[in-house]
């Protein structure tokens, strides 16, 4: 039993910012119908790495990881008949999710007021770079645009250094987490009042929120790896090429333990570096942890995939996929002991067309076959 068993989501979102939120919901038991189209492929299906042929729309590991536990249907939203089918999915759903470019939902007649006419208590959840209101609402950008507009890029790095972009689209990580919270809060509100609503998540604002502690300072500054609340806060070299360990000392007890374990007399950074350089990062992590000193080896992608703690926690779930074969998919970072949920593999494109259109929406099989053949449900 999942926490969200019985919840119904019509998911029009694509790439990263919307799909990561609907993955959260699907992994917890919600029925998430992903509305896609061969005419306008989810760019996530064309994103590396691939199991084989990059042109195989079902072969992207990126897509598979981002869309676990969902069902896929194909609906051509540029065909009026496709819009009518989409409206039936809206009537079925509790929540509609979208992250289209500015104005798209209005152009196809699926804006919030139109959705309310179909289902008065519908929740529409939108996520976009700058939000649906304000002078920048028409901005077309990417996940990293939010790093620029939020101050994140400006604040990354050593004092005096140029701006530094995150190594991935961090806005596409943080914003969907906010979208999940927004959807769940809106569902609680609906349970109390019977009212739906439109929640409008911007990628920029969550990226400001997660550095709110810097904005609360008299002057937000770059600090590199340093932190004024700690006696020691940095990374130090360890044995091997490009191997490092992070050490953070919060109090005098930890400071004494660190000095003892490293055989040094003061918390001088050079002395710490000289001492850590003689150790393997994992062995030193074990030793410092046993002494009560917060430390963490700087893991690379291989280290993460092979990490014993993540394996024991079930962080990756090995699932069989018709194109990818057995492959690791990320699970939620929590266990709800009463309603644990279950991660299932991502769908092939249009895999659930018949199940959804015929069995769920009750449409005629002959009609569906015609619509598929004519490119309306494609």
């Amino acid at each position: 039993m999942g926490a969200l068993d019985g919840l119904k989501i019509a998911d029009f979102s694509w790439v990263g910012a919307g799909p990561r939120a609907t993955k959260d919901l699907a992994d917890n038991g919600a029925t998430v119908i992903k509305i896609e189209s061969r005419k306008r492929l989810d760019l996530g299906r064309m994103s590396p790495p691939f199991a084989g042929d990059p042109k195989d729309v079902d072969g992207s590991a990126f897509f598979a990881q981002t869309n676990t536990s969902k069902r896929s249907v194909t609906v051509n939203l540029s065909d009026p008949r496709g819009i009518e089918i989409a409206k039936k999915l809206v009537a079925w759903a509790d929540v509609v999710v979208e992250n289209f470019g500015p104005g798209f939902m209005e152009r196809i007649g699926l804006h919030y007021q139109a959705l309310r006419k179909i289902k008065p208590d519908i929740i529409l959840a939108s996520v976009s770079v700058a939000g649906r209101t304000g002078p920048l609402s028409g901005f077309r950008g990417y996940g990293n645009s939010a790093a620029a507009h939020s101050g994140h890029a400006w604040l990354t790095g050593e004092p005096g250094s140029p701006p530094h972009m995150p190594p991935l689209a961090y806005g596409d990580v943080v914003a969907p987490m906010f979208l999940t919270v927004a959807i769940l809060a809106a569902l609680e509100h609906r349970a109390r009042t019977g009212e739906g609503q439109h929640v409008d998540v911007s990628q920029i604002e969550p990226m400001v929120h997660v550095i709110a502690d810097l904005y609360a300072q008299d002057e937000a500054k770059k600090t590199g790896n340093d932190d004024i609340d700690f006696l020691i806060h940095g990374v130090f070299p360890t044995q091997g090429d490009d191997h490092w360990i992070a050490i953070a000392v919060e109090n005098e007890t930890q400071a004494e333990a660190l000095k003892r374990e490293l055989g040094i007399s003061s918390l001088d950074r050079d002395a710490i570096s000289a001492a850590t350089s003689a150790h393997d990062k994992f062995a030193l992590f074990d030793r410092l942890a046993a002494a009560g000193v917060p430390a963490g080896p700087v893991l690379d992608g291989k280290n993460v995939l092979e990490n014993p703690e993540l394996a024991a926690a079930g962080h990756f779930v090995k699932l069989d996929h018709p194109v990818l074969g057995p492959s690791n998919m990320p699970a939620p970072p929590y266990v709800l002991h009463g309603t644990p949920g279950k991660v299932n593999r991502a769908p092939r494109l249009g895999e659930h067309n018949r199940e959804v259109f015929i069995d769920m929406l009750g449409l005629e099989a002959d009609e569906i076959e015609i619509l598929i053949a004519e490119g309306c449900l494609a």
């Binding site: 961090y170 987490m177 604002e205 963490g296 893991l299 002991h337």
Partner: protein, 360 residues
């Protein structure tokens, strides 16, 4: 009304839950927080704990009594349960134990902070200059990510409770929260055998790399020469108007794959773009991007962000008063836009002893 009005949340904060409790308070929940034993700087405390009722833990029994009345307990104690909450919660409570690591894995019980968790996430390894040490993101991202997941678990538990009538226990690992945000590195290794390295501000895709940061007349912008023909044409058309496009005018972007273009050719093209950007201000470039769909963003300083007309129009920043010092600070308030949210309390409250707290 607020979305979560009258929802009672007891939070024992120590970094891991701080932003989660803040999110629930912003959504209208009545959050009572016990602050960490090790005090953070005042700015950090205000950022994460405004809008909550601050409880001084003078009486463990009184804290347990609050846990028994709570709808949600966010237990973020990094060094074990000093209040005995586990036995205090009722069967209606959603009791979320947030720890650095899983409850029973090989790292269970190890000390950790935001920095050490971020190092473990795999993100630090790929952030920074190629010849420099790994670099963290600004602020405390491992804690922030964990906090958001803590709020998520609370809301999942509430949804389930409406159906089952029962609360439940949950365990949340901060290491997993931080690692989940790293959607690239483990998967790239699994499928390609390649281990990512630090590339500075270079975006490497395919056989070549492109710049992400450019100097302009009065600061920096971010933009990349990626495989998006319509975007490339939109940029080049303005460069042509200004007589600055050079050989970029003659490139058929529909049939050019930048990712497969030799690096020296990309460097030549980027040189033309760099000269164009250097001759224009952030305002000019930002306006063209908005109008023409370039995908270019102005790199905003914190002051730019605070002064942003866009964020003002959306009401992001709010004034929060520290009741102890009387100081007022501008920090982000609403989490998103919705017609269903009232303004919550905008103060960092003075602590109330648990033994005399009568709010619940």
């Amino acid at each position: 009304m607020s979305m979560l009005a009258a929802l009672r949340v007891l939070e024992i904060a120590d970094g891991l839950t701080d932003f989660g409790g803040r999110m629930l308070a912003e959504l209208g929940a009545d959050v009572a927080v016990v602050l960490p034993v090790t005090k953070a700087n005042r700015a950090r405390t205000l950022a994460w704990h405004h809008g909550k009722t601050v409880i001084a833990p003078d009486d463990a029994e009184a804290i347990r009594a609050l846990a028994a009345k709570a709808d949600v307990v966010l237990d973020g104690q990094r060094e074990g349960d000093r209040f005995g909450l586990d036995k205090a919660v009722s069967d209606k409570t959603i009791y979320i134990r947030v720890a650095p690591f899983s409850a029973n894995g090989p790292y269970a019980g190890r000390p950790a902070t935001d920095l050490t968790l971020f190092a473990l996430s795999g993100l630090m390894h790929v952030t920074g200059e190629p010849d420099g040490p790994p670099l963290k993101f600004p602020g405390q991202q491992a804690y922030a990510l964990t906090g958001i997941q803590a709020a998520t678990v609370a809301l999942l538990g509430l949804y389930a409770r409406r159906r089952t009538g029962k609360g439940q226990k949950a365990d949340l690992s901060a290491f997993q929260c931080a690692t989940l945000s790293n959607y690239r590195e483990a998967i790239m290794y699994e499928w390609t055998g390649r281990i990512g390295r630090r590339r500075g501000n270079m975006l490497v895709r395919g056989k070549s790399g492109v710049r992400q940061i450019w100097e302009c007349k009065d600061g920096f912008v971010t933009w990349s020469m990626i495989d998006n023909p319509s975007m490339m044409r939109a940029v080049v058309s303005v460069m042509e108007e200004k007589g600055a496009a050079g050989e970029l005018s003659h490139i058929d972007w529909n049939n050019t794959l930048v990712a497969d273009t030799p690096q020296e050719t990309i460097e030549r093209w980027q040189g033309i773009v760099a000269a164009f950007f250097a001759n224009h201000t952030r305002e000019e470039l930002g306006a063209w991007s908005l109008e023409k769909g370039w995908g270019l963003s102005v790199i905003c300083s914190p002051q730019d962000v605070c002064d942003s007309e866009h964020l003002k129009a959306r009401g992001l920043f709010v004034e929060v008063t520290d009741e102890e010092t009387g100081k007022t600070v501008s920090v982000p308030g609403p989490l998103f836009r919705s017609a269903q949210m009232d303004t919550p309390r905008r103060t960092l409250a003075k602590p109330v002893p648990a033994s005399s707290f009568t709010g619940w």
